[in-house]
Amino acid sequence: MDFLIVSLLNGLSYGLLLFMLSSGLTLILGMMGVLNFAHTSFYMLGAYFGYQISRWVGFWPALLIAPLVVGGIGALVERFGLRRMHRYGHVAELLFTFGLAFMIEEIVHLVWGRAPVEYRIPAALDRTLFSLFQFQYSAYRAFMMLVSLVMLAVLYFGLTRSRTGLIIQASLTHPQAVEALGHNVPRTFMLVFGGGSALAGLAGVIGGNAFITEPGMAAAVGSIVFVIVVVGGMGSLYGAFIGSLLIGVLQTFSAASDLSLRKLFELAGMHAALTGPTAELASVKLSQLAPILPYFLLVAMLILRPQGLMGIREEE
């Protein structure tokens, strides 16, 4: 029973972290139809800016400033780069963001070097918040979960209740009509891209000190974020939320388990006398596979329900 609760808590906290990372990506994808390969690079930039600014003025100002800087960079990228690619179609936009990702990584190499940098958790949060069944939960992890939930709330209310949010939603399906009404649609897109990048940057500021800040960090999370966006449904914020939690819990439970095919057989009362490669295959534990289970889920989802959990079929 305590295994269940502890693993659930761990899974939820990891899932909320993944949500912070993928919310911006799915928004941009839904609003603008652009799969931003440089999204995790903005995450990395957020972490590095968070590190640099914390060294100058401390963590709490960095928490505010770094995402804004990253958002600003995102807005500029949209205004001067992506917008010009728009007339050439989605593939051109994709390739542009792909190249951008490489460029950002090299710039990080030049400025901060290739080794990890020492971006530390602020002292105020570097302590245990509570203990459950002898497992300690750090205050910083609780802080990460809190920020993630606040992010979800702000996004939801911002998009559905505010005027800007309504304009954004309308621009998605009827850009000409919205423009005819006098709203600046290109500027709205710039805002969305910048906002999505700022979200990634915020995830970086918060995640960079918990997980190590180094130039490979963008590539390391790139694939899992893509999985969440596809599984949740491209463009759906709810989908990204559910997808992140699902994958977080799935990965945590499987990493904590010792199940293997062989064990399953044994539990069923069959003690198979396996030899050779079959024996090796049967002894592979679920915990060995845990980090790659999301990719199995990706493949299954694409086969069974390509629009994802909560995605809408694209009518192009």
Partner: protein, 426 residues
């Protein structure tokens, strides 16, 4: 003449020049004055910073020898870098480039798969072209088979291999009576599985009372959140962990352990990797143990301190750390072998190198004749804060360094070999 033909002519001229200039610009190589040694390793890709640091380590070692008069009566050792891009295929190309430049000595350390490819290529090249042979000096690969089943006359290893380090680690653990329950966690690839199995077998012999409460293999570089694994260790009530992972995986594991309140000792081989002590930080102080050929607080003699200070003076950036004592040994023993053979012919130098005994700063180092494995002292150390007693130096400016615990004599890790060395007649 219209615009198009002018353009075409200009393009042709530019193309011709771009091919011709490099050939013209190549300086006449001063073969008479320098002995070239190829540095064939990862200078791009994820381990590029390690490769660049190793190059600096070796360059400094060569500088010291050149300052004292070089080899063969005044010739200087020149290190020429080639990039393996950490890929076996690219490494073979780099080796070919080094051979084409008439270089006969090669230094390499990063990646066992690259080492395997290089070893195969060197063996093949030396058999086919006896006039253009290459001597392969490895100062970092730990795959034990390179000095056992895959041993070669042309291959020398200056670092301790995996079995030697495991032997040292198990002996150290056996002497520690407070260890009762052990958890083993490693990255999921074949050499790691072998090393873990060896640890388990040796422990069964030396300390059958130690209970192994869990074994875990995780994919390399894929796990961001080690909390479930740390949680597993905690549930198992282990008091000691063999953490065989390296790089970020190791740092993240130890940090997760601290986050959930795991109170164990970790035995590692790679806690001194570039950037790792800083990444582990407070989480590992007093808990993380390292088995290594050298660390910067292991030998506080005047000679060693002077050497280390000299390196830090030439490369003042804290990220440029002196990390490879085996690399230093490789250069020094190569120089000695060249002088002893009074020649730069790879076969002569190889014959002079095997069986060589030197007194290094850490103690006596023997290049075993039977398998070309260096037998050398090892150290067990614990991570601590800079300034704590015994921790005069930290690593890469992180504020964390290692405090020496034990020195392990070469004899304790001199293991039997299955090598059947075939020596070329000429």
């Amino acid at each position: 003449m219209n615009k198009t033909s002018v353009h075409r002519a200009a393009r042709a001229a530019a193309l011709t020049l771009s091919f011709a200039l490099p050939i013209v610009a190549m300086p006449a190589s001063a073969h008479a004055e320098t002995i070239k040694v190829a540095f064939v390793d990862a200078l791009s890709g994820p381990m590029a910073n390690v490769g660049e640091t190793m190059l600096k380590n070796l360059q400094f070692a060569a500088d010291q020898i050149n300052a004292k008069g070089g080899v063969l009566g005044g010739k200087t050792i020149e290190i020429v870098p080639f990039d393996t891009k950490m890929s076996p295929k690219e490494a073979t190309i780099a080796l070919k480039q080094a051979s084409d430049a008439k270089i006969h000595f090669m230094l390499h350390a990063i990646s066992s798969s690259v080492a395997s490819a290089l070893l195969e290529s060197v063996n093949r090249q030396n058999e086919r072209y006896p006039d253009n042979r290459m001597l392969y000096l490895n100062y970092g690969s730990v795959d034990t088979s390179f000095t056992n089943a895959k041993c070669s006359f042309w291959f020398y290893r200056f670092a301790a291999n995996s079995d030697m380090k495991t032997e040292a680690k198990v002996n150290e653990m056996a002497a520690n009576k407070s260890i009762k329950k052990l958890f083993i966690i490693a990255q999921d690839f074949p050499t790691a599985h072998d090393a873990v199995q060896l640890s388990i077998d040796l422990l069964k012999k030396k300390r059958p009372d130690i209970e192994i409460v869990g074994t875990e293999f995780h994919p390399m570089g894929r796990v961001k959140d080690f909390t479930p694994y740390a949680g597993k260790i905690k549930s198992s009530v282990a008091d000691t962990v063999i953490a065989a992972s390296f790089g970020n995986d190791l740092s993240l594991l130890i940090r997760s352990g601290r986050e959930i309140g795991l109170n164990v000792n970790y035995y590692t081989f790679y806690a001194n990797g570039l950037g790792v002590p800083g990444a582990i930080g407070d989480a590992g102080v007093g808990k993380v143990k390292l088995i290594t050929e050298w660390h910067n607080n292991a030998v506080p003699t005047e000679n060693m301190e002077r050497y280390y200070a000299g390196f830090k003076q030439k490369y003042p950036d804290p990220k440029d750390e002196f990390i490879s004592f085996p690399g230093k040994l490789a250069i020094e023993m190569l120089a000695k072998a060249i002088d002893k053979a009074n020649s730069t012919d790879p076969r002569e130098v190889a014959l002079a190198l095997e069986g060589m005994k030197v007194t290094a700063e850490t103690g006596e180092v023997t290049m075993r004749k039977e398998d070309h494995q260096a037998s050398l002292p090892l150290f067990v150390a614990t991570l601590d804060k800079k300034g704590a007693p015994g921790v005069r130096h930290d690593l890469d400016g992180s504020g964390y360094g290692f405090k020496n615990n034990v020195r392990i004599e070469p004899l304790m890790t001199a293991l039997p070999t299955t090598c059947n060395m075939v020596r070329p007649v000429k």
